[in-house]
Symmetry: C2
Subunit: 317 residues, 2 copies
């Protein structure tokens, strides 16, 4: 059979993957037919896609392909967590540099498969290509809405408090690859508490908070002294030595992949007292009525109570 490099790599890769993957009753066809068929529990599908690329989201000269493959799925799991949706299946489309394409594809999947198994994601299909360009990998993830319905960005109300999972900042020291998407936390919280709105922190707390506020038509006051700053945010500030503080990084570094939630104060305070999850829950501020004198309505409140405008600042990648 005369076929060319791209297809030959795809066939060889699919043969390897067929042996590597466990059979999964929910998506039996995607690897050997024109499309995958997913059997869900209801007619409502939550779906998201992210494309990661060399030089933007990773550097193969520094980052193991296994970590890159894991991240390609993890960022999408984080998006589903933000909707409080249960992951079901994924499609993986890749375009690989021609040299060493098969080995690279296998290593990407050696990182991706364990995370898929951990979160019950069936790898239902995809598309494998080669080219003269650098690696691009795009994962589409499908999920089901829980009984509580999807968690949207747009449900925050004045008076809600802002709750965040984990610690923020300095993700470039490793967390950007090794984070655990907050799927379990989101599902648990959606089941046990009244959540009004949610977003995952992919581009920096201040920028993603601004997005949540924009979608909800509210403003927000961020109690900066309460923001949980990671040890890596402090290390990163020291390493950069550019005058930035650990708090600056907690406010504006991207790829924390923690959850930012808006919810009633009482429920949030109960959660913070009980700390029912493996990761810490922290109240970092509150929602207020929308714009203020034409300003974006985002404020930072210092420990002494003084208010200054908070400038949304995103991760420069």
């Amino acid at each position: 059979m005369t076929i060319v490099v791209g297809r030959a790599v795809e066939l060889e890769f699919l043969r390897w993957l067929g042996e590597r993957l466990p059979a999964d009753g929910r998506a039996p066809l995607g690897l050997r037919d024109d499309a995958a068929i997913l059997e869900l529990s209801g007619p409502r599908v939550v779906t998201t896609v992210d494309m990661l690329t060399e030089g933007v989201d990773f550097l193969l000269s520094q980052d193991d392909p296994e970590r890159v493959g894991r991240k390609a799925l993890a960022v999408n799991l984080s998006d589903l967590a933000a909707m409080a949706a249960r992951p079901v299946a994924a499609l993986v489309a890749m375009t690989l540099p021609r040299d060493g394409a098969l080995k690279l594809a296998q290593r990407l999947f050696e990182g991706l498969i364990p995370l898929a198994e951990e979160f019950g994601v069936a790898l239902a299909g995809g598309d494998t290509n080669t080219w003269d360009g650098p690696l691009a990998i795009s994962v589409t993830l499908f999920g089901e809405v829980s009984e509580r319905g999807p968690l949207l960005r747009s449900g925050a109300r004045p008076g809600d408090v802002l709750l965040v999972t984990g610690k923020l900042g300095g993700s470039r020291l490793g967390h950007q690859f090794d984070f655990t998407p907050r799927v379990r936390e989101a599902l648990w919280l959606a089941e046990h508490a009244e959540l009004h709105a949610g977003i995952d922190l992919s581009d920096g707390l201040s920028l993603d908070l601004w997005r949540l506020c924009q979608a909800s038509g509210v403003g927000a006051i961020l109690d900066v002294a309460n923001v949980p700053v990671s040890e890596d945010a402090a290390r990163w500030a020291v390493r950069l030595a550019d005058g930035s503080t650990a708090l600056d990084h907690a406010l504006s570094d991207g790829e924390d992949f923690e959850l930012l939630l808006a919810m009633p104060r009482e429920a949030a305070e109960r959660l913070v007292k009980e700390q029912p999850l493996a990761c810490r829950l922290t109240i970092i501020g509150e929602c207020v009525t929308g714009e203020c004198a034409g300003k974006a309505g985002l404020w930072r409140r210092e420990a002494d109570g003084s208010l200054t405008p908070l400038v949304p600042r995103g991760y420069e990648h």
Copy 2:
């Protein structure tokens, strides 16, 4: 707000797209939340993804971005047609060269949107990035199975005849961009005839026929004199002047995006007689029992009835 090129392009593009697109009740969230929510008519989703890349699937120096954007959706529509599934919604992930990224994204969508409208596909979300590499565009398409269930590659039986839509070969002269995915034809045929198996011709008739046979565990005899050869296949053979014939191109050129179906002879003969569709239907062979003396079980039959092995040969892209 300090954000960088990639995000700035994405925000600007989403603003443009929000105005450009009609509102669609089925997928109201994808452009402004962490994920899209699709409301389907049942719990079974058919889904497929294809990533197209510069230098492999198109050359922006020759091919208008509008045609590239159209193709990125059309190839996925062809995959759904092969499953006899009804398209519902799509996600579009792109990584654009930094220079002129916004304009390129808009032109891609100016080609993609009319096709989406023609086939009732809601553009439900996506991911827009920039980098120093060439264009990569990945479309994930979602569909619903018709009442007859999905059409698989694996259902062909010995005695079935092979039916093909349209004409084959020479797609590089333009058809690879301008083809109409056979969605309507597939749905009509699935409703009005008994179909056993189907595949879309993306990599060349002989190779895709081999795939259908492999999936079904049958062999096949192709009546080469009956293969509908396109005018472009003849033109392409003349242009190449490498000794190849128009028939060679009809057998092995990729990107015809026609349907190859296996079905009972009587029903196929009725269809061929009635020609109920806008494109021609042609019987080009029959399925036979599986392997023959260890050979792949693919045969070509000349007009005089002589049989020789048919070598599956795919599109070299």
